[in-house]
């Protein structure tokens, strides 16, 4: 039979994915140039959730900025709060004076936030591949952590929990028992979903060798987090530059080999297990004591004193109205977010508002690399790869 295909006129087709699309969690626009089903080029256009985080921070007092940090990576808000508080504390020079209990609390809740982050990511990835049941299972597990976090912070999602010098409030009674129950139930959910996916033919076919990135490229793009770890680089801020009390806790860093979506899925599942371990150890070692630094320049005095003592009243008044004034200078503090290294670079001019508050978003370099990574794959491969980026619009666009 004569080959008529070579005489057919073919063109590259432009397909716009987003910004309002079910598989783009959050909003991003990808203009995909397709040759049949094969991707020739992708132009990723972010910015549809740019909300002016830096400009807002420059107009708000230091402790008021923490509400904007929740809304950065909104699936793991405590980690952002902790990162910002650490940056300002570094600037003030009080980073090592945070009470031990406050540090342990920050670690416990950060790890719970990390678990909610990974649960949400995997829920979305698996839902897009067709496994809606796993979405329901992961979100069910996430609810347990939201309830725990709500008991401590007052809000499920936008916690605004840390303050410069410590945290807003202590754990409530019964938190440790509820946490243990939640952890054991979450472990069961993770095992169940592991049985559903890890050796599942369809899942493996859709994710193994898809979205592969080489180690050199990952480093050149400045990636961190599960993407970098899936290529074999064991870089985790909690181990390389231990902050808070991570240096005293035992946990491992799961590392992949291939740099594909399947490895990232496995890395995230393993990280959740490690986070559960960290929470259990931290709850066992939790000391008593204050949760915020007992320094009148940063922390509100005890309420009873405010009502009875004039100095405490004036102190409270000054802290509420004028807020803290870090000395002139700059500081860069980094924490391990759900997606990688979340860095805060703050500049102070000596006033009560930041001169600059810059966030280094971990998913920004990963999205920058998405175009080159996906060249040559098929249209349907965009979905699991994009899902495994765990692009959080609030963090990327700020």
């Amino acid at each position: 039979m004569p080959d008529t295909a070579k005489d057919l006129h073919t063109e590259v087709m432009d397909l716009v994915l987003g910004p309002s699309h079910p598989a783009t969690h959050g909003t991003i626009r990808m203009t995909v140039k397709l040759d049949g089903e094969t991707i020739v080029d992708i132009d990723v256009e972010p910015g549809y959730l740019h909300r002016g985080f830096e400009k807002e921070c420059e107009d708000h007092k230091w402790n008021q900025c923490v509400i904007y940090t929740d809304r950065l990576n909104y699936v793991s808000p405590i980690i952002n709060n902790v990162g910002f508080a650490m940056a300002v504390e570094k600037l003030c020079g009080i980073g090592d004076q945070i009470p031990l209990r406050g540090q342990y609390l920050r670690v416990i809740l950060s790890e719970m936030s990390r678990i909610t982050d990974h649960l949400t990511c995997l829920a979305a990835v698996t839902m897009e591949l067709g496994a809606f049941t796993a979405f329901l299972y992961f979100v069910k597990a996430r609810e347990w952590f939201y309830e725990l976090i709500e008991g401590v912070c007052g809000a499920r999602l936008t916690t605004s929990w840390t303050r410069v010098g410590g945290v807003r409030g202590d754990l409530h009674d019964g938190f440790a028992d509820k946490a243990k129950v939640a952890l054991s139930k979450t472990r069961e959910v993770l095992q169940e979903c592991d049985r559903l996916f890890t050796k599942n033919r369809i899942f493996m076919d859709r994710t193994i060798d898809i979205g592969v990135i080489s180690r050199e490229d990952a480093i050149s793009y400045g990636m961190t987090g599960p993407w970098l770890r899936s290529t074999g680089v064991a870089y985790d801020v909690r181990k390389s530059h231990p902050y808070l009390v991570y240096g005293e806790l035992n946990f491992e860093i799961p590392v992949g080999t291939n740099g594909d979506n399947y490895d990232r899925y496995l890395v995230r599942m393993a990280e959740m297990e490690q986070s559960c371990r960290i929470i259990e150890q931290a709850l066992a070692k939790l000391p008593g004591g204050p949760v915020s630094i007992p320094d009148h320049r940063y922390t509100y005095p005890d309420k009873q004193l405010v009502y009875t003592n004039i100095e405490a009243l004036i102190n409270q008044f000054k802290l509420v109205y004028e807020e803290i004034r870090p000395p002139k200078g700059e500081a860069y503090a980094y924490v391990e977010g759900g997606n990688g290294e979340l860095g805060f670079y703050v500049v102070s001019s000596g006033g009560n508002k930041p001169w600059k508050c810059r966030v280094h978003p971990p998913c920004f370099p990963i999205m920058a690399a998405l175009g080159p990574v996906l060249k040559g794959y098929m249209l349907a491969d965009i979905i699991p790869t994009f899902g495994s980026v765990n692009m959080i619009g609030g963090e990327m666009d700020r």
């Binding site: 256009e45 972010p46 910015g47 740019h50 002016g52 830096e54 400009k55 107009d59 570094k90 600037l91 020079g93 490229d217 480093i219 050149s220 793009y221 400045g222 990636m223 680089v233 870089y235 390389s240 530059h241 200078g329 700059e330 500081a331 860069y332 290294e341 860095g343 670079y345 500049v347 001169w355 600059k356 810059r358 280094h360 920004f364 370099p365 999205m367 920058a368 690399a369 666009d397 700020r398």
Partner: protein
């Protein structure tokens, strides 16, 4: 460990480095913008700074040179960090692009350009990243007013925003809404 790198840098490029410090444990070197590419290449190749972690600018309105580019570098193998800063004047806001050294610099520089107006020489595609094409001005500059709005679509007037529908029984049909006309801002 990072202190040694800073010392090596000062020894290798004495003319390029304007000042250096390690306040708060962050080793920092301020260099002249002309020697940026050379210094960065040396840092990447000789001092094993494989990663460009962050790239941003700070606007010191009132000082001259006005802008300061800030680069955070990280070495994965040796586990240390360095901050490099370079001042850029307002009249000639141009500096070399770091794309030849690190691919990740691409998007960071595009964002910096649209927010501050600093041009990166050698960047292949300096179009806006987070803002839309109709946006005029550089919003993160200190002289960009906080209340300037540049809407992209004609916005429906605030006083007549209530939309009646027969199922709506709130009873606020005739109520005049507060005047938030400051939102119109400039176009």
């Amino acid at each position: 460990m990072s202190k040694e790198v800073l010392d090596k840098l000062l020894a290798k490029f004495p003319q390029a480095v304007v000042s250096s410090h390690n306040r708060l444990g962050d080793e920092t070197a301020v260099i002249k913008r002309e020697s940026l590419l050379e210094v960065m290449r040396w840092l990447r190749d000789e001092c094993a700074f494989e990663m460009l972690m962050d790239l941003t600018a700070v606007d010191y309105l009132g000082e001259e040179p006005r802008f300061e580019m800030v680069y955070h570098l990280k070495s994965l193998s040796k586990n240390y960090r360095l901050r490099i800063k370079a001042r850029v004047p307002e009249g000639d806001p141009v500096i070399d692009s770091l794309i030849p050294l690190w691919k990740g610099a691409n998007w960071f520089e595009r964002e910096c350009h649209e927010m501050y107006g600093i041009r990166f020489q050698g960047h292949p595609d300096l179009r806006p990243l987070l803002l839309y094409p109709e946006f005029k001005g550089h919003p993160l500059r200190k002289d960009y007013p906080l209340d300037r709005r540049q809407p992209r679509l004609p916005l429906l007037a605030p006083e007549t925003r209530r939309f009646p529908r027969s199922g709506d029984e709130t009873g606020h049909e005739g109520e005049k809404l507060p005047d938030d006309s400051h939102e119109h801002g400039e176009f």
